[in-house]
């Protein structure tokens, strides 16, 4: 039996330190509250213990006391609320200069790929001092990407992309856990996050050769799946050209507009009729549901992104970066309740 008794997790990011401060504040308030309540009960229990047949006079209550002990705790709780919300909002939006990493959860492993084409399983390598944005997808059930040393966690819900980000500050090797119960080997869906000095990270990237960058892998898929026969480089194909599409605002035949972000591209591959760009016919493109893995879709997304991006006027590069826009494609589900042709 391991006799170590660690009582505090390591803190390896900015946000981890913030969360530790909040935790200490919450704990102190709780301890003070508990001592007050338990102390008063203890004193009453001793001081007013039954001595004989005395029958004490009732005290019916006091509006002033009731108001006091409702308002004061509520004001204290509002400080919890405010501080927690502040951290939550800071944490929700990745900075624009974030480094991209992609991870797919699958019963029961984490597959990780980097824009340079490197891939690994149950391992994540990141440098310190740079915001890292992880785009998460699930191949099957709900998983949850949890790195305790960074105090961050995000569910990975099948059917759309989830985004999390962090800024690591302390090199080391830390646990990566799946936090959402996902079946038989849930407790085996664990791995390690290696946080490295930037130079070590560059060496690591260089030492892990790959068959081309993620964009190049995506381009090969684009050819293999026959996408290129319709989505030609010029504008003569049966489908729209994808050059310069990423991040632009698309006019849909339904009259709506949509920003061509990761979620839109993913949906257009799996359920092409959900949002058809104006000037093109529905029911031309087949659904690729079941024919391509989530990893492959991510490669295609990166490839399409590499074909050039446009910043739609008034639109951020990805809808996911808007506070409040969460990347969930409920609108698409509502627009297309049958989920496309199966």
């Amino acid at each position: 039996m391991s006799m170590q008794l660690p009582l505090w997790p390591e803190a390896a990011s900015d946000i981890a330190v913030d969360i530790d401060h909040l935790y200490i504040y919450l704990s102190l308030v709780s301890v003070v509250m508990s001592i007050l309540i338990f102390g008063v009960i203890f004193i009453f229990a001793i001081k007013y213990r039954r001595r004989g047949d005395e029958v004490p006079e009732p005290i019916h209550g006091s509006l002033r006391l009731e108001i006091t002990w409702s308002i004061i705790p509520f004001l204290v709780m509002l400080t919890f609320f405010w501080w927690g919300a502040k951290i939550y909002f800071q944490n929700a939006v990745p900075p624009p200069n974030s480094m991209d990493v992609y991870s797919v959860g699958k019963q029961w492993m984490w597959k990780v790929q980097y824009p340079g084409g490197q891939r690994e399983i149950n391992e994540l390598h990141v440098p310190i001092g740079r915001p890292v944005k992880i785009t998460l997808a699930s191949e099957d059930v709900i998983h949850s990407f949890f790195i305790p040393a960074l105090r961050i966690k995000h569910d990975v819900v099948p059917g759309h992309y989830d985004i999390m980000w962090f800024n690591a500050t302390k090199p080391g090797r830390y646990h990566l856990f799946c936090a959402e119960y996902c079946g038989t080997e849930h407790s085996g869906m664990v791995g390690w996050v290696t946080i490295m000095e930037p130079a070590d990270y560059e060496n690591w990237l260089a030492g892990n050769g790959s068959s081309g960058t993620m964009a190049q892998q995506g381009e090969r898929l684009f050819e293999q799946l026959g996408c290129s026969s319709c989505h030609t480089q010029d504008r003569q194909g049966r489908g729209p050209s994808l050059r310069g599409v990423y991040g632009s605002r698309m006019q849909l035949s339904s009259g709506q507009t949509v920003v061509a972000d990761d979620a839109f591209i993913r949906e257009s591959i799996l359920n092409p009729n959900a949002k058809v760009v104006t000037g093109y016919k529905p029911n031309v493109m087949p659904s690729f549901q079941g024919q391509i893995s989530e990893e492959g879709i991510l490669q295609l997304v990166v490839y399409i992104k590499s074909l050039g991006t446009t910043n739609a006027p008034g639109a951020p590069t990805a809808a996911l970066q808007l506070p409040g826009a969460t990347g969930r494609t409920t609108a698409a589900l509502l627009a297309h309740p049958d989920g496309g042709k199966q």
Partner: protein
């Protein structure tokens, strides 16, 4: 003084011996006999859930998954949750003590619908049989939360059987709630105004509102899970056009209020215990009663706090976090009023009062740690870890089960007519308190360290805290076994209790112990407020 207040000289006619034979029990419409049927049934389920808990803690003694394989472990924690929540905690106090006491406390002969009351027990048994069948056939491994699309598409276990069990048991809960609402509205004795209702009745009334309004939602949700699993209708599984998060919204819309179904009746018990053992009227009657209704209403508006890391809108997160802070206020009001009730009281420390002290302490810790989880940024780190496990066990076991044990020890003399040995009662209450804290306090630390819940095997550095937890669970188990022994012993060898062994107020204590089939020889007329300990004359009868 009426004849009902005199000590019975010999074995008098009461609800237990009025009729004999199994038919007299299985076809009874007496709320007290139905309460006893429920008491036996849920005790069996509690024991079963406890065995599963013991298996979980034994496996977690070592970091490696060495006692069971992963599939078995996953089934064990699932069945622990399903059995404890749907077949013990939800029916626990309303179906047993509520059933027994609500009519007696308001001066009625029975509930408004005695046959529906019996029907609810049969429905409960039918649901329990489905759950047991799911266990016997091979178990379920979805967790008690049945999250999709795992439950609808990926699990290879008896999900539909278990879901049908929970679905059926829900109707028993709805019928009990319906019965209580009508009874409290229509069956109160003359003079028993709303302002004179015992707080236990208020708590059960608030609970009944949630049971009636909330339970249909979980029934629909589980029906959809079953339909999707059987016919792939595409509600929850994104591969066929569904939305897995929709399930979570629907599930928690019931299951968060269900937490209040579990705790509100316990709070009602504590109000009775604190007044009786302080021999003093309650402080802030209308605030304790009103806070039960407040919890029932606001409790319906906070479900999203289970979903802060699912990718739900940040602004929805703000709303749910704020409302979660809000719902904590009425709980705090209760704790403060119980404390104030003890002020200048005449406090004695019999077994039920020890459980009441335990409840206030553990529920306070459970409530405060709930605020950690309602705080947005904090929850991101803590959710789905052992911190959550510790938090809800402080509320559900430290709160509800201690209240249940307090109620059992308080009203046992009324239900059975016998006294149990108070020394053993105090000793086991102490064991439960110590064992409980040793089991669950280390889990707060484990959670902050990052140990995820529902893990069959865990990282080696978490072992010491897990060993403490398992040791505590052993003490806790003994603490629950001892009452089982002395309470059964008391049925035969316990001293006759007399009508009112605690000197308590309340109409139920004016009847003989055990009461007659129709509770009161004559309908009582109530002329005083609840807990009028300072008044020396007895409640007028006749």
């Amino acid at each position: 003084m009426s004849t009902a207040l005199q000590e019975p000289q010999t074995e008098t006619v009461n609800y237990l011996n009025a009729e004999y034979g199994w038919k007299s029990w299985l076809f009874t419409t007496d709320h007290k006999r139905i309460a006893v049927l429920y008491l036996i049934s849920i005790s069996v389920m509690f024991a079963l859930g406890g065995v599963f808990a013991g298996l979980i803690r034994t496996e977690l003694l070592t970091p490696e998954g060495d006692l069971f394989n992963s599939d078995t472990y996953n089934k064990v924690f699932t069945m622990h949750g399903v059995v404890m929540i749907f077949f013990f905690l939800i029916p626990s106090i309303p179906a047993t003590f509520g059933n027994f006491l609500v009519p007696m406390m308001i001066g009625a002969k029975d509930l408004a619908f005695p046959r529906i009351n019996l029907l609810s027990w049969y429905i409960y048994i039918a649901g329990a049989l489905f759950a047991l069948a799911a266990i016997v056939m091979g178990g379920v491994d979805t967790g008690w939360t049945f999250y999709t699309p795992f439950s609808t598409t990926y699990s290879n276990t008896f999900v539909i059987t278990a879901a049908v069990g929970v679905f059926i048991a829900g109707f028993s809960s709805i019928l009990t709630g319906l019965n209580f609402i009508v009874t409290v509205h229509k069956m109160r004795a003359p003079g028993m105004t709303w302002g004179r209702l015992p707080l236990f009745v208020w708590a059960n009334y608030a609970t009944a509102l949630i049971q009636v309004l909330g339970t249909p939602v979980v029934a629909i949700t589980l029906a959809l899970v079953g339909l999707e699993r059987a016919f792939h209708i595409g509600i929850f599984d994104p591969a066929i056009g569904g939305d897995p998060i929709l399930f979570q919204h629907m599930f928690w819309f019931y299951s968060h209020p269900a937490v209040y179904i579990m705790i509100l009746p316990g709070m009602g018990v504590i109000s009775e215990l604190v007044t009786c053992f302080s021999r003093k009227g309650v402080f802030g009657y209308s605030f304790i009663a009103g806070s039960s209704l407040g919890i029932a209403i606001i409790g319906f508006l906070v479900w999203g706090h289970h979903m802060f890391v699912t990718g739900m809108s940040m602004y929805a997160g703000l709303y749910f976090s704020l409302l979660t802070m809000f719902v904590a206020v009425p709980s705090a009001i209760k704790v403060f009023n119980w404390t104030a009730t003890m002020f200048r009281g005449s406090i004695s420390y019999e077994t039920p009062m020890l459980y009441a002290f335990g409840f206030i302490g553990l529920f306070t810790i459970g409530g405060l740690t709930g605020l950690f989880l309602g705080t947005l940024g904090m929850d991101v780190h803590l959710t789905d870890t052992y911190f959550v496990v510790a938090h809800f066990h402080y509320v559900m076991v430290g709160g509800m089960v201690l209240a249940y044990m307090g109620a059992l020890h308080f009203w046992w003399p009324k239900i059975t007519g016998r006294l149990y040995p108070d020394g053993w009662g105090k000793f086991s209450a102490l064991l439960v308190f110590v064992g409980f804290n040793l089991t669950f306090f280390p889990q707060f630390i484990l959670g902050y360290m990052g140990q995820p819940r529902r893990y069959h095997a865990y990282a080696p550095e978490f072992q010491v805290l897990n060993v403490m937890s398992t040791a505590g669970a052993s003490v806790l188990g003994v603490g629950f076994l001892i009452p089982l022994i002395y309470l059964l012993w008391s049925l035969r060898y316990g001293k006759p209790a007399g009508n009112n062994p605690w000197g308590a107020k309340g109409l139920e204590w004016t009847t003989q112990s055990p009461p007659t089939t129709f509770n009161f020889d004559e309908t009582p007329i109530v002329t005083e407020e609840a807990y009028a300990y300072a008044k020396h004359e007895e409640t007028h009868v006749g």
